[in-house]
Amino acid sequence: MTGIESAGWRKPVALLLILVIFATPLLAQQTTDEYLQGKLDGERDAKGNPLWFLAGAGCGIIGAGAAYLIKPSPPASALIGKSAEYVLGYTEGYKNKARNQNTTYACAGWAAFVLIYAAAGGFETTE
């Protein structure tokens, strides 16, 4: 095989390698961007459930703890037509934000319960 014939495959292989080298970080960046966008959207959409206010008022500190442990479900409609990376980011952002909101509502309910109980003389002790 002559030198020219043997070198014929090298140019397309070199071009392919160049494409891979430049394309890979671009694809990785796009994946990260989709995850981050999903996370931002999930946090934005998670408004929390004000009914957790009732849980806090009803069972005090236990309600506040339960709120932190139970993770609210993200709305499926927000995931339609979205990439897998976006979905993972969205569920993470929604879960964390909604959990914090629910804990806030539960603690607010607990604080209201304490104030009302104290105002009614519930913490007074007799000696």
């Binding site: 993770k71 479900s73 499926a76 995931l79 990439s83 993470e92």
Partner: protein
């Protein structure tokens, strides 16, 4: 009592209701367009419904995606990537834009059993307009719902916040009748929030009622060998 829509209430609460047994299966094509500010998103695909609460979506644009909703489990599958995500929530998941299509199936739309009370009604031409107040425990969060129905077809629904400001308006048109139920083939939802308006338009086509679902839909499972990611809580 004329049939009225529960759809906006479900949208606000994000809970799916078990629908009546009027229709066992539905297959329908859809195009969903959402506009928010300068952005526009278009999703095209097919929806398959199996009573009482199983919904499967086959999305073709902008990405190939399967979505299965059944009770508290949401499964997403990306066939081109051979990748799947499962989300198990603590409450049933919801799909408001499709609930708007199904809403006519439920007698009384379940408003009374959810605690909504009919406040009043009026007749404007051939349209019956009813006004509903939310249950007591939600009055601090939700305001009145207004429903307009003409000739058994839901025309529009408006929701308000406790202060009386309109938060969303849903307009229904191009109804198709199946049995005693009228299904809207076009639904336009406009949501208002502080300084922001979102518009969602869903156009449905080629509806099939009570036909056997395709086998690949009925028997959908994540193929073996596909890694399943996701969250369970």
């Amino acid at each position: 009592m004329k049939k009225i829509s529960l759809l906006l209430f479900l949208l606000l609460l994000g809970e799916i209701e078990a629908y009546g047994q009027t229709v066992k299966t539905i297959s329908v094509e859809f195009i969903k367009t959402v506009r928010e500010g300068n952005s526009k998103e278009v999703v095209k695909g097919s929806i398959y419904y199996q009573a009482p609460d199983k919904i499967i979506l086959l999305i073709r644009e902008p990405i190939k995606q399967w979505m299965l909703l059944e009770g508290k489990l949401t499964t997403l599958y990306y066939p081109d990537e051979r990748r799947a995500i499962q989300i198990t929530g603590w409450s049933s998941t919801s799909l408001p834009f499709f609930q708007a299509f199904l809403g006519g199936m439920k007698e009384d739309y379940g408003l009374s059993e959810l605690g909504y009370k009919l406040e009043g009604n009026e007749i404007k031409g051939d349209t019956l307009v009813t006004h509903w107040n939310p249950p007591e425990k939600l009055k601090g969060r939700l305001g009145e719902i207004t429903l307009a129905v003409a000739a058994n077809e839901i025309i529009y629904v408006e929701s308000r916040d406790p202060g009386g400001q309109i938060t969303a308006k849903v307009q229904y048109s191009n109804h198709i009748q199946y049995g005693a139920v009228y299904f809207p083939l076009q639904i336009v939802t406009t949501r208002y929030s502080r300084g922001d308006t979102t518009s969602e338009r869903v156009v449905y086509g080629e509806p099939l009622f009570d036909k056997p679902l395709p086998p690949e839909i009925r028997n959908f499972k994540i193929p073996s060998g596909v890694k399943i990611e996701g969250t369970k809580w």
